[in-house]
């Protein structure tokens, strides 16, 4: 198996989870209603667990840094997350739409991973999908609730958030340098195949939500090779501030 290819793949997925977890956690204490505050906080905690488990696999199998070091000691250029996850939360409509588009992709991604020839990833993924099911259920409920079942204002806001999010959502599937190796080794079905599954599902839900997916949009690529928006480095600075005071501290 191509080790470099697997490490690259795992950093993409782990960094996505880490950064979206941080963004979701910014709703803690700030949610529009208590239940939503708890929902975003819980999802953040789950995602952080997923990131930690993935960093732990890389540490154990591929001699990568320990999870805390991997999460807190890399700068923006070293991060392999897509740009989508690093965008500021904005209004609640944008956070919800991003949550839906991202978690739909995660659901199909981890489902594909359950058949991975890289056994530690397959085992973890069988566990993770049980959790993402709840994340997606939450997101999907609100898409329909505020889209088709809301009023003119809520539908318009969800549509506008969808338009804004779409190019970045397509950026989730930015192909990496090792796509063919990962596919050939049976590690992963590849970003292109994943995107097809995702697009079919997302189209169905958006139709139920009476929302229109924008057409002819250029994907926002770059994140997977370390080219990020101006929002990532300030996020990292804040997230790592305490850890960097004493990286060797025992917690």
């Amino acid at each position: 198996m191509n080790t470099e290819a697997i490490v690259n793949l795992l950093y993409r997925v782990a960094d996505d989870a880490l950064i979206i977890a941080h963004r979701h956690s910014e709703w803690t204490g700030m949610g529009p209603i208590l239940e939503e505050d708890i929902a975003f906080s819980s999802i953040a905690q789950d995602k952080l667990g997923h990131a930690q488990a993935l960093y732990a696999i890389m540490h154990e199998h591929f001699a990568q840094p320990k999870p805390d070091q991997a999460a807190f000691m890399r700068n923006a250029a070293a991060m392999r997350c897509c740009q989508f996850v690093e965008l500021p939360n904005g209004e609640y409509d944008f956070s919800l739409v991003r949550h839906f588009l991202f978690d739909s992709a995660e659901m199909f991604r981890y489902h594909a991973f359950t058949d991975s020839s890289f056994e530690p990833l397959a085992k973890l993924s069988r566990k993770v999908i049980g959790e993402i099911k709840y994340h997606l259920y939450h997101a999907q409920t609100w898409m329909v609730q505020l889209g088709a079942q809301g009023n003119e204002v809520s539908r318009a806001r969800m549509q506008s958030a969808l338009n804004e999010a779409w190019p970045y959502a397509l950026g989730i599937f930015e192909p990496g340098p090792f796509e063919s190796a990962l596919i050939a080794d049976g590690v992963f079905i590849g970003e292109e195949a994943l995107k097809e599954q995702w697009q079919t599902f997302v189209s169905d839900v958006c139709r139920d939500a009476n929302l229109t997916i924008p057409s002819d949009v250029e994907p926002a690529y770059g994140g997977r090779s370390g080219y990020h928006t101006e929002h990532l480095q300030p996020l990292l600075d804040e997230m790592t501030e305490v850890f960097k005071i004493d990286p060797s501290a025992e917690w």
Binding site: E35, I38, A39, S41, S42, I43, Q45, D46, K47, L48, G49, H50, Q52, A53, P120, K123, L124, R126, K127, V128, G130, E131, K133, Y134, Y137, H138
Partner: protein
Amino acid sequence: MTVEDVYAALMNVKDPEIPTISIVDMGIVTDVTVSDTGDVHVTMTPTFVGCPAIDVMRRDAEEAVDQAGAASVRVDVTFDTPWTTNRLTEAGRAALLKHGLAPPVEYDTVLDLTVLNNAACPYCASHNTTLKSIFGPTLCRSLHYCNNCLQAFESFKPV
């Protein structure tokens, strides 16, 4: 020391978030082996990947088996056997109820989350209940309201 002795010791280790239930009844312990020389190897699986209680439970399990007289103890946490709520024992489900938590709905192979819409109330057992939120005070709980006895309650989420 026998495998039964180890399980007996582990029955005293509780989930710090739900102190009425042991890690054995919770289904967290997936395997126990004891060598001829009394070296114990325990395997555990976390309820949620990001469960903050797992390190405490791992440490408590080590201590409990050590105090029961094991020559040595090793506790590993792996995802080899994924935890699901179907792993809860009958005693475990009763312990949840005692704690005021509705036990998780049991299911076959594929879980449909709409089962949460009518969770049984832990106070009056009515199914005339409303799901308020699929996320609760810990990762493993959801929030409900009973239309029969007019009580808010929490349920252990099926996963």
